[in-house]
Symmetry: C2
Subunit: 660 residues, 2 copies
């Protein structure tokens, strides 16, 4: 039992570490860590199941700081509870280049940082994904191996962002009873009082999406404790509204927006020390307080050991499957299965839309990888993401593997990040490529974190047709390629689609997007090749001696390029064709290989039913690009390709004009 | 008074036009138009204040079809009520290339289409913006000139999208009492029943954000009418939940997802004709029904004439101001004021962050353009968007000109689109550039529609510093430049910032974004030049005879380029510098001009603290690019620029290496 006095001192340890670190960095957000210190102290010292000595323990509770600007709250907790890779020196390096203690928590910088947060609302989405993963894995492996809570702390900003609506509506619908959301209800945003811009009744709002709701004084440890205990027993996710004072303890600035995102200043810090009766100098935590915190950090050691015992006692196949899944390794025969599928395709190369080719590839993949968690943002029949193995997940039955995410691209993508971060599952989505814009912040965070989520982005060009420019991506390939560390695939046929899926799944530390067509495509690769040529990013699909023309194309335009090369041949012009399924992987090849792919033909033509941006690396600033210069239009797809001049004839004409 | 029988026949006219047009196009969404026909009929035949002969009447009620896939509902209404540019031939051309009747309603294609919709939830945001504009202009010009309702019709998809939360929370907070949202509550989405993915209690949800809520049978005209009348009297925005049957009237497919997005098929259409007792062939509306609809279209002629009379009788200055504002023309002395400001800057060129330079320019602009509506997504002190003229708008006082949008980038951007579409105001936002990702779908729609909204995007690079990679845009310039018809400005100093503001405001048919720094920049332009050089997109800032090196840079990196050129000069290497404030405007210059700017120096170097994508057009595929190849990091900005090699030294070294 932790006395009130001890609790206060433990919470104050967070407050002083936070304000002192922000002061030293002369940058940062002391307000939230000081305001939410009591909530965090109760959670970490009495309820959170975690072991700093085993930070990746698969059945640990997850804690997400959605209000990532309050990063010092998390860093303080990690240091205080005894994570070995979070030392007081790290705390002193807050917000310095190369430190673990970045301005916002960054996944991978230190143990115990479960996700990268800062862009508001994302953490709530991540937590929903973690709770989905937990529920699904409990269903699959039993509660002996998976049975933990997911806690998430958010502020007003997270709740104002639209993504919060998507995330909480889904969580309420799915009855994710082991999800607990603390709201640091401090009434303050950067512009001033929340009342400047919002008057939402958050309790009523969460009730409307079927959450259990509780209101507490966020500085009263017993109220907080009672709420957590009630949440743990709830059959629904629980929202705990914690009334707090931002910058609690700072006598002159607490409760104002002055304490949100700026150092308190030496004077106010001194006043706070006085007010909270804290005598230790900066970065020194009194021994009794540190002891109490370290004891909190060992609270779950027995539980962890018991869990390890249960895992050790688990039947061998199940145990090795559980271990494999959490290691993120694919099954041993994965490459073999893709290879067999490629051989089968070569027997009778199909003319199919790549969205259908993706479904066919997934039929193989989902048959051998039980860890895939498929889904779509309400476009299942269009995205072709649900294969025969995939039963729908419902609020009462998580034995399925398919998520109906609803019309919630952003919530979906953030939750997928959470699923991937949780471990044990590989999430893939379905959506129209145009709506990658709706979930771009989450895709970016997946790239920043380096996690394996796979976005199936169908209807990838004006090939959409009648739905028109609101639904036709023209700039999205460029915009997605611009995101560092994201693999954007645009396969040209069924073989490349299978290869791209293979690459996406084998990329354990990068997210991928697959841009897929609505319309049918003729096969580009007619012969079986064992090597995954798409792994090269770009490769010569049609070679010819003494080429006068190089045509570079991706996806649906490879078919045009191939036909154009044939026509040019008929006209006595030697043309080679390079297929470009993944620019990012091409960039990683050797200079020698790149040079050979770019070739020496004097005329270079790029073809993609999208904007030119980025293509000059293949064709040069003076190359000819055949693609889009504007938004698309509504009409039958064939009419559109003709209207916008993305045709075999246009390629041939351009080549002839340049050659002569 | 319209009898029930007449009402039914009028509604059925919509149903048959819709299903027949979809059938002919063999593509489209008959479900919503058939299901929502009764709601639309009551609204358009009895309440909506509109005049097809004066479609731009400034005080008309606005109607937004947020569920844009149901476009045939809108096209049917426009044709039936007598908009001259929507003929039955246009209806027959549904979803054909070049037609007015695109797959989703497109602003500018035909009168009466108030906004482009299709990406779900956007229309709700637009409508909130329209209602804000109305409330603001009523405050400014009086209810004689501005006093209208904004109606919006949405489906389940719109309500699941997160943007809906942002929009409705803001509308409820602002008590936008003349906003009425109809929910086509048909329980069906593409994947199947809504219950697959959602169980939100929408009434409770809207109550939580302080809306007036009403539930009606969406096929009962008197219930619908009573709800609209109650809504008109409400002191809060009103949500009318209309229980409907999707595809109402189709005997075998109504109420199922089969009728959502596919043609009904000849058989089902025949069955529907029978069921609804409709004998007219396709595209023929019985004369009595058409007459009734045309009468509905003339219902507000008197109101319109009375309004015109009031406008004519308005005091001259106010009248001409009102007219000017709705014509979207700037004040006559606008250019003069900017010019005077540029002269003043030249007297003492300031070293400032461009976000501060933007504030200074806005201080001039807001002083002479009363139509600007400023705001920020809760980053006012960081975005520098609130000038001395700008009092905050509050729920009870719209005399101000500054919106605290809350932490709602997406809702803000969609509402800004609505403000611009409404007319009479020019909205500009404030946000961190990184969060352009959160509102990208709305920025894209502004570009597609060709409307004047201006996004102030501060903290535009790793210059953000300690907040780290979650807050540092590295790919955003490229990603935003990829959007067609969007002007992306990245000014290098106070003069360019003023010029870019001038260009953004003068671009009546294009949205703009201004990428602005957090950190101070030395002035690039030291002498007064009357011409707006930024209008050229790129221009020679430092010229030299026999240049061996051309350095192209934008924004904060122009300072580095200028210093590097000076150092190179010291080393005997002649280097010129080209400032690139706006790539899109450069693309529109003559070939001759472009050639002159690209120059003939053998060495080309591009410098931008962002990814290379897009820069090859200036430096070629073999040029040297000094910028970002990864995400940023957390640390003091100066450390970051050094760490990532974006320095004067790096430019000089690269130039020397290439020259030798």
């Amino acid at each position: 039992m932790i006395s009130r006095e001890k609790h206060d001192r433990m919470a104050n340890a967070i407050r002083f570490l936070s304000m002192d670190a922000v002061e030293k960095a002369n940058s940062g957000h002391p307000g939230l860590p000081m305001g939410a210190a009591d909530v965090a102290t109760v959670l970490f010292s009495r309820y959170l199941k975690f072991d700093p000595k085993a930070p990746l323990w698969a059945d640990r509770d997850r804690f997400v700081l959605s209000a990532g600007h309050g990063s010092m709250l998390l860093y303080s907790l990690l240091y205080l509870t005894g994570y070995e890779d979070m030392t007081i020196e790290d705390i002193k390096q807050f917000r310095q280049l190369g430190s673990k203690t970045a301005g916002h928590p960054e996944y991978g910088h230190a143990s115990g940082i479960e996700t990268t947060t800062g862009p508001l609302g994302q953490g709530i989405g991540n937590a929903v994904g973690m709770a989905i993963a937990e529920r699904k894995l409990e269903e699959e492996f039993g509660s002996d191996l998976q049975n933990h809570f997911t806690y998430v702390l958010c502020g007003d900003g997270c709740l104002m962002e639209g993504i919060s609506h998507e995330a909480i509506a889904l969580a309420g619908h799915l009855k994710l009873s082991k999800l607990v959301l603390f709201w640091d209800n401090n009434n303050i945003t950067i512009d001033g009082a929340v009342s400047l811009s919002d008057s939402t009744d958050q309790i009523a709002r969460f009730k409307a999406v079927h959450w259990n709701t509780i209101e507490v004084d966020g500085h009263d440890p017993e109220q907080i404790a009672a709420a957590i205990e009630a949440a743990q027993k709830s059959d629904r996710p629980t929202f705990i509204a914690c009334k707090t004072t931002i910058g609690f303890g700072a006598p002159n600035k607490a409760g104002t927006h002055k304490v949100h995102g700026s150092p308190l200043g030496a004077e106010e810090i001194a006043a706070t020390r006085k007010a909270l009766n804290w005598e230790s100098p900066a970065f020194e935590t009194p021994a009794d307080v540190l002891d109490a915190w370290r004891a909190a950090g060992t609270r779950s050691v027995d539980a962890r050991k018991a869990w390890e015992g249960r895992l050790a006692a688990t039947e061998t196949t199940k145990k090795s499957e559980f271990t494999r899944r959490f290691a993120g390794e694919l099954v041993g025969n994965f490459d073999e299965a893709i290879d067999a599928y490629k051989k089968k395709l070569a027997e009778n190369p199909p003319t199919v839309a790549t969205r259908k080719a993706s479904e066919d590839a997934l039929e193989v993949i989902n048959g051998i990888l039980p860890e895939t968690l498929g889904g779509s943002a309400d476009l299942t029949p269009s995205n072709n993401t649900k294969t025969s193995q995939m039963k729908s997940i419902t609020p009462t039955d998580f034995s399925g593997r398919y998520m109906h995410w609803g019309i919630r691209e952003h919530g979906m993508a953030a939750a997928m990040n959470g699923v991937a971060l949780h471990g044990g599952l590989i999430p893939y989505s379905g959506g129209f490529m145009i709506f990658s814009d709706y979930c771009r912040p989450s895709i970016r965070l997946a790239a920043l974190m380096g996690i394996r989520v796979i976005h199936v982005l169908t209807h990838d060009s004006i090939g959409v047709g009648e739905d028109g420019p609101t639904h036709e991506p023209v700039e999205h390939m460029a915009a997605l390629r611009a995101i560092p560390n994201l693999l954007m695939f645009r396969p040209a046929d069924a073989v490349e689609t299978a290869e791209c899926w293979q690459l996406a799944l084998e990329s354990q530390h990068r997210p991928s997007g697959l841009a897929l067509t609505r319309q049918n495509l003729a096969p580009a690769r007619l012969e079986y090749v064992a090597e995954n040529l798409s792994a090269l990013g770009a490769y010569e699909l049609i070679s010819t001696a003494d080429a006068k023309v190089s045509i570079f194309a991706s996806g649906s335009e490879v078919e045009l390029a191939v036909k154009a090369a044939a026509e040019l041949k008929g006209k006595g012009i030697a043309a080679r064709v390079v297929s470009v399924p993944c620019v990012e992987l091409f960039d990683e090849q050797s200079d020698e290989y790149k040079k050979s792919v770019l070739g020496t033909a004097p005329v270079k033509i790029g073809v993609e039913a999208a904007v030119r941006q980025g293509w000059d690396q293949f064709i040069g600033a003076d190359g000819t690009f055949i693609g889009m210069r504007s938004f698309g239009a509504s009409g039958p797809a064939k009419d559109l390709f003709k209207h916008f001049g993305i045709t075999v004839e246009a390629i041939v004409a351009a080549a002839e004009a340049k050659v002569s």
